[in-house]
Amino acid sequence: MSSTSQKHKDFVAEPMGEKPVNALAGIGEVLGKRLEEKSFDKAYVVLGQFLVLKKDEELFRDWLKDTCSANTKQQDGEITTEKATHFNS
């Protein structure tokens, strides 16, 4: 399994299109499965959630934690990806 930064690089290198959630940095199999159970099956859906939360990192973290019990590192990776994908800082 590739590391988080590698995943991130791969992810941001091209438009996310229909990539699954597993492609997000910090989301591995387990978390990906949990997200999919909650019907966040594609990366863009998670991105959508980030946007719905008004790009508030803290809220997004909380949401990630609630939804799929992501730990801090995974959340960080997620957020970085999201942010990088959609400019916002």
């Binding site: 930064s5 991130h8 941001v12 508030d56 809220l59 909380d62 949401w63 400019f87 916002n88």
Partner: protein
Amino acid sequence: MASTQLTDEELFSELKHFGFTPGPVTESTRPVYLKKLKKLRDEQQQRGSRAGKTRSTGAIHSPSGGGNTAGPRPASHDVTHLSSSRRPGRKSSVLGFSSDESDAETPVKRKGRQADRSPGFPQHPKIRPTTPSVANKSQYGATLNSTNSSPGSDRQRGVSLGWGVRARSSPEAEGKDYDESGDEDDYEGEIEKHSRSLNGCGASHLNTSKLAGDYSDSDEEEVRGPGVGDQQQERLVPNVRRSHPKAEFAFHVVGRGSQTGGAARQVNPPEGLNMVGNRREEGEGGKGKRRDSDTPGGLRSHTVSPRKTIYVSLAENHGGEAGKNNHVDGEDGAYRSSRFAIGLRPRFSNYSSLSQTYRSNHSNHTAPNHSYSQAVLKQKLSVPEDELLQQFKREEVTSSGSFSAHYLSMFLLTAACLFFLLLGLMYLRMRGSGSSEVDEVIKSHPFGSDFDELYNKTEKDLILKLLLNLHDHLAQVAGQYDCGDQQHLNRSLSMAEASTYLRSQNQDFDGFIETSLEWIIRTGQDVGIRLTGQVADEPLTDVSEISRLESSHPKMPFTCRFRRAFFTVISRVSLIAVVVGCVWSVVCYMKFRWRREEDDTRQMYDMVERIIDVLRSHSEACQENQDLQPYLPIPHVRDSLVQPQDRKKMKKIWERAEKFLAANESRIRKEPQRIGGADFLVWRWIQPSLSCDKTSSMNSKVWQGKAFPLDRRNSPPNSLTPCLKIRNMFDPIMEVGENWDLAIHEAILEKCNDNDGIVHIAVDKNSREGCVYVKCLSAEHSGRAFKALHGSWFDGKLVTVKYLRLDRYHQRFPQAQGSSTPLKASSPTLSTTGTMNTVPRLQHRGAGNSSGFS
């Protein structure tokens, strides 16, 4: 918390109250927002409890004051008026209302919240259509509340009085009805809540009596309004809490009234509660809002009850019924209906009875009522705010208590100081006065009974008086002498002088001089006169031997005494201070030296490492390139590692490094060589190269490429400000070394070396996010820097950049305001820009090492 019972809209508005603009509340975002709301509420309560204490007390007072006058009815009037007035303009007045709410504690904040709330009440308007009668009812309800709760009635009245303006006459009648119902609800705080709610919903409630039928229906629906009302209430509750406690009361009044009004009331309560709740919360600081909610909870059952709890909580807050506040929140939930019931049930016992009656009616109205009441409440809040403010002003006098505490402590402090001062003076005085002693000598002399027997009374008196005189005189002389008064050359008096003096005092003394002196000799005690003979230390046995008399209890004037004491003290204190100062300076010096030592050692090791690096790389280069000599002259190495301006400074360090290398480094050999005809001492690297050694020691503070191309999607089209905030450049926990922030500076400057518009860089060493702040000359420069930095990888981390406002930047870094000279990287050959260094290969190994150069 009752937050779980909030509807989406309520949650939304609640969050808005706190000044936080949430995104849409969907099923996925709901838990997040709930948590956020909880957190905000907690903060609110903390803040509110501090601030709201006075307010609540004040608020309480005011309502009670108000209540007294009119009696339940008038209060209700007010309430009703309020509610009614609010109702029509609900939408618009909501805004006003909000600001009113916040006025008590934080006007600005409130206003904001209010504003937030108004948009948050989009649903409320639907309640509006419930008919003006509802409004009336609510008003009535409000008044009813006030009237109902007898304990609360005062408050209610106060509240309603505050709102007074609106009081309508009609509600009176209704109020009566409500009173009855209100009595049932007699929660401690609930009454308040009611009033509040009533006020809030007031308008609607007022009409309850009249429109009970209609209103209740509508109210029921409104009140029930799924969660909406609750949400509103909840929202209101927090707001109310914050508001003056008075507001709470008002609300309670409203709330109560609403209850009596039945449907109408119910409508109001939800609204009122919300509003009230908010008010109260504000006022109370979260005292017992919850409990208040309980009372509304009772309403819940009727639809009114939920409101009641809210109101109650509101009122409770005011009354310091902290628990109630919670209820208010809970009540909001209650509005939700199901949840509310669960939470509030126990409390709602009172209300349940009431609610029962209204239940049928209210259920329909609940929903609409909620929204409406909330809106109404909001409106009402705004209107009564002024009055509340006034009422609160009264409360603020209580805050003087805190001042008195302050003054009290000051007073105690000054009293203690004065006490010690007096003590000192007394002490001085005591020391000085030996006269009392002499007086006693007259009365009770130390000469023993023999003295008494030998002489008759007059003689005794004479002798004693003589002695007294002598004593005084001597004391004076000694005192004057001691005080520096050079009138007397000697502290003691010679015999002749003493005799002369005594004779001058009283002729009769003449004969007794010697006798008295003899007696003094005879007695072993110290009578204050010391007799010395020709030879100093010999005890006297005979009067004839006496040559000098001296006082052992000098009498000094007070000022002199004080002065001496003062000087003594000062000298001692200064002595101690000097000693302490010496010790402390020694310690400081030691610390300083020690730190210097450490610094030097570190620098030496730094240098050693660099030398090793240089040599190693050179040897590698030599392996590839057979033309180079495998050794390097020492002076050349030094000159390449140390900048010319630093050479003098680093001389010592260099020498230490050399010595260290000679002693401890086995891979480097020092040998003399002849280069170009001159003899040099050179260093030769004698370790065969290890393949893995090269990269491991890399200090990887380098730029590693871009993650994504910057285009319109992920960067702003034009640069907005000249200030940038760069994130994720480092991890403060992981950083080691002293000057890593300088390395960061360097790295940024290198990356933007084509952009000579960077005037200030600040690394926030403590930020978890690894923030670096950069200021550029102009927006254009910052835009270029942005393009260069954003999305690049640095040291394995993805760097993001955003623009900062210039004034904020200056607030944070005032020293940046004046900087206008572009910064340059200290060494142009650093990092990954690829320029060749004098020492080949060093560059890409030591991209970060560049910082070492400076």
